[in-house]
Symmetry: C2
Subunit: 120 residues, 2 copies
DNA sequence: TCGCTGGTGTTAGCTAATCTAACACGTGCT
DNA sequence: AGCACGTGTTAGATTAGCTAACACCAGCGA
């Protein structure tokens, strides 16, 4: 079981692959980047390069958007920052709201890249 | 734990990604295809699309080449076919030769795509 | 030694994929 | 009504990938 390198965080996937795996459009994926939700690397030729971690993040973003959150909300959840109300509090509030909506099950996390790790 | 789809066999990776992950050149990857060792799918625009299974196969091919096998040998190992000497016999012979060379440990199989399945 | 074969490098010319920037549009909120 | 948000679409430019061809060299049998 050789560990090749940091595969999950290695930026090697072009946007077409990400589109296929997340079911998002290129427009959406690029827009979420302008909103600071993801930070893909760039190839020598300036093409975006994503990691599997990015893909998991995008899937989560897609679901949170579908749950009624704005991109600003989602950003706030992902990069905690100093505020009047404590971050942990805000996080808990939003999370509860999600639960109440029944859109998220705390024990049901599915990361796409886990699928890549299927063991024969 | 949602199972999205057959991720390991889903052809979504362009050749640039495969090059990065296998450390093979595009020339080598395409040549191994002409030798019937891999069979990538094609995009609507005729670009090759690889799966993680293909990547694992390519890594294995690279190692077997480095061990002194020819592509014809490797193809014979992968697609068993009727011959005078039984396939299992030929397979065993080649495998033993590998062992004797000390290039391969029967319990040390590393598949790249397992790395993709790192669980947080 | 000569000539062949297998595996790889490189190039040219073409098509597909991606990039940025801009404008459009609907929905929801004030 | 006016504005902000999230997304679609388009144009024009650049990079990535494709096929086909030619080159090269190490190894190997005649």
């Amino acid at each position: 079981m050789t560990e090749i390198s940091a595969l999950r965080t290695r930026p090697v996937l072009p946007i077409s692959t990400v589109m296929a795996l997340t079911e998002l459009t290129a427009r959406q994926i690029r827009y979420y980047e302008t909103q600071e939700l993801i930070h893909p690397a760039r190839s020598a030729g300036n093409h975006r390069l994503y990691s599997l971690t990015d893909i998991d993040a995008l899937i989560e973003i897609r679901e949170q958007l579908a749950s009624g959150f704005s991109l600003a909300d989602i950003r706030a959840l992902r990069h905690p920052r100093r505020r009047e109300t404590s971050d942990s509090e805000a996080r808990r509030m939003l999370r509860e709201e999600l639960m109440n909506q029944g859109r998220l099950n705390p024990n049901d996390r599915h990361t796409l890249s886990q699928g890549f790790g299927f063991r024969s």
